[in-house]
Subunit: 161 residues, 2 copies
DNA sequence: GCTCTTTAGTTGTAGCGTCAATAGTTAATG
DNA sequence: CATTAACTATTGACGCTACAACTAAAGAGC
């Protein structure tokens, strides 16, 4: 690490800043949501993805995919969200191995009540500091990064909405 | 979340991709380091920052700053790293409240041995997918994001190296 | 039809991070 | 000076995630 530079100075600098953002951003999102809604960002994002799904329902595997989560992680979170009455799980009729997760009316209300504060946090911390060109560049760069991070596009992160 | 768009489609898309990267990148870094060196990325980064410091020594607060960590987090990590013989803590002579963390020779060896594999992972997942313009854009955008994420520049993330 | 493999999901455990509380030290105020 | 406030660091408890092991059902090969 002393006299041999593995990354160029420009690369190293950009990398360190990316690391800083990756370390700091989750904390900012989590603490606002924890304070205002007693939800982690991942819990909120899970509810939000269900709220955008047809019939507010997705199979666990599909939900894990669009939330970029492993199945065990989602399963634990689903247990907690179900206990709190925000979602309900039911066996899938088509495939008896599968489970459907459905947003309950209370879950919908929770998303509706929580969204404004969360979006404000996102706007303040991510959208407002950037102009239109920055947003376009950010999108382009993140798309490129997701190729190796998610090689099979398993999580569908690179799809258009 | 249905008929009222809080973010424009472009903003929403860029935001979702940033979230995906923030969720996926730590796992990729952690699993390589865990597999090859039994180190978390944060542990490695902590050792690396010490390896670049004068006399391989930093005060806990300063170390927490450049690693973007809270003090309790660093304190726990320091306990583990000290037990494994990679760092040593000693009271600071100048300020009896303060503690200095110093990289041990074994800690230095660990960094030297671990760096190549880690850098390869970074290159494969972050540097190679991007061209020079992307790197410059990434640096510019991350710098802007760090303003609200780290308002007082407490962590020094925006400083030149 | 019967194995063998793959897929879907859950559960338990161990490890890491956050938060609140604490102790000890220094600086600021009157 | 004496008192209060602010800073530095650690600790313990609790919650969340990763990993491995496991159950159960669907598909593949013969």
């Amino acid at each position: 690490m002393d006299d041999f530079r593995w990354l160029t100075p420009d690369q190293l600098q950009a990398w360190k800043k990316l690391v800083a953002v990756v370390e700091l951003l989750p904390g900012v999102l989590d603490s606002q949501l924890q304070r205002d809604a007693e939800l982690t960002h991942f819990e909120y994002f899970t509810l939000a993805m269900l709220s955008e799904a047809p019939e507010h329902t997705l199979r666990m595997t599909a939900l894990a995919a669009i939330t970029n989560a492993t199945l065990p992680r989602l399963s634990h979170v689903a247990t907690r969200l179900e206990k709190r009455g925000y979602i309900q799980r039911s066996p899938c009729p088509d495939d008896r191995r599968a489970t459907n997760a459905t947003l309950t009316p209370q879950g919908w209300d929770k998303v509706v009540a929580t969204a404004p504060g969360h979006v404000t946090t996102v706007v303040d911390n991510v959208i407002d500091p950037l102009n239109a060109r920055d947003i376009a560049d950010l999108d382009r760069i993140m798309t490129k990064l997701l190729v190796p991070l998610d090689p099979e596009n398993k999580f569908g992160s690179r799809d258009r909405p």
